[in-house]
């Protein structure tokens, strides 16, 4: 992984970083790179309330806020921003307002790398709207002054249309932190992690191989 000045991670939901990015974040933090995580919503509309349910529609945001704080602590993130948008409504916000918000973070933090979702390839409407807003904000910066933009893509057509991801981070050195981060988002991940073990040594090798590599696509700017 290249040395960065500052990494800015922008996602709409508290667990968006867990499976695909938390190892990359933890690796940057361990290298002494400042990381800011801006999370737009508290995942208020999550469908997992625990089984049997330990949350309600109304208590879920409070639970997920704490899970996000715990996850940030595990990854070593010093600067966690909760932006106060509401789950599943991001695409209905005023586009210009959203872009300005993203621009103000970029101006303030001057990141050398931004990580977000790839518009068109990230499935959830909030992911798409967040990715679009970040792309609009970065697109307003002169091409030679832009921070790098690494995107997460997981729609069924992403490999076919974007090709193989050009950034593959091996995060095996911090895999315990990654597993602990995933676990911290308990309300959303508990049922799927039931079969996972406490530490990396005892986790299913197939799951470990999947966990150890984090994949990103550099955003492809249209030719000028």
């Amino acid at each position: 992984m290249e040395k960065e000045r500052h990494v800015l991670v922008i996602f709409p939901h508290p667990d968006d970083e867990a499976f695909g990015v938390s190892g990359t974040i933890a690796s940057y933090v361990e290298n002494g790179t400042p990381v800011t995580y801006a999370c737009l919503t508290l995942g208020e509309m999550g469908r997992n309330l625990g089984n049997p349910p330990f949350a309600t529609r109304e208590s879920l945001p409070k639970i997920r806020r704490q899970e996000l704080v715990d996850a940030a602590n595990i990854m070593g993130i010093q600067d966690l921003r909760m932006l106060g948008f509401r789950d599943k409504t991001v695409e209905f916000e005023d586009d210009e307002e959203l872009t300005k918000k993203m621009s103000s973070f970029i101006e303030e933090l001057n990141p050398s790398l931004i990580i977000t979702f790839y518009p068109g390839y990230s499935v959830h409407p909030d992911h798409e709207a967040t990715g679009r807003a970040v792309v609009r904000a970065v697109g307003r910066i002169a091409p030679d002054a832009r921070p790098k933009l690494h995107c997460v893509a997981f729609s069924n057509n992403s490999l076919e249309e974007l090709g193989e991801p050009d950034i593959i981070n091996d995060i095996s050195a911090v895999k315990d932190k990654k597993i602990a981060t995933i676990r911290a988002h308990r309300s959303q991940t508990e049922s799927m992690m039931a079969s996972w073990s406490e530490n990396a040594q005892n986790t299913d090798p197939a799951i470990l191989r999947w966990i150890e590599k984090e994949r990103f696509w550099s955003y492809k700017w249209p030719k000028q």
């Binding site: 509309m45 999550g46 469908r47 997992n48 309330l49 625990g50 089984n51 049997p52 349910p53 949350a55 309600t56 529609r57 109304e58 208590s59 599943k88 499935v123 959830h124 409407p125 909030d126 729609s155 069924n156 049922s191």
Partner: protein, 115 residues
């Protein structure tokens, strides 16, 4: 939340009748339904903090349950309700959890706005 107790829910519905209340009504199959199964037609609706006043309301069925509220000039209903809680603010929170425990419908009534 616990499985719906019709008597307890009916009492709460009765207690909130006839005054201005705030409604949260939501149906969802999740934002990933079509991603997971391209033949699935994804649909849902959501309203939060609609102020209503209902003349009377009822919870019916043998589980999953249906709840309907009769307004002066309209109706509100939800179906597939399985669980409920009357929370520490006295709000009636009802939800329908599917076979995997995931929320599929929520119908909530409160005397004060939801935050």
């Amino acid at each position: 939340m616990k499985p719906i107790d019709r008597v307890e829910v009916q009492q709460k519905i009765d207690a909130l009748a006839g005054s201005d209340v705030y409604l949260h009504l939501e149906t969802t199959n999740g934002a990933y339904a079509t991603h997971n199964d391209e033949s699935f037609f994804s649909a849902g609706a959501y309203i939060r903090n609609a102020m209503i006043r209902y003349e009377h309301g009822k919870i019916v069925g043998d589980g999953p349950y249906r709840a309907g509220l009769k307004l002066e000039i309209g109706w509100v209903y939800g179906e597939g309700l399985t669980h409920f809680e009357i929370d520490d603010q006295g709000r009636l929170l009802m939800a329908g959890l599917d076979f995997n425990g995931k929320l599929a419908v929520a119908m909530q009534i409160s005397a004060s706005p939801f935050e």
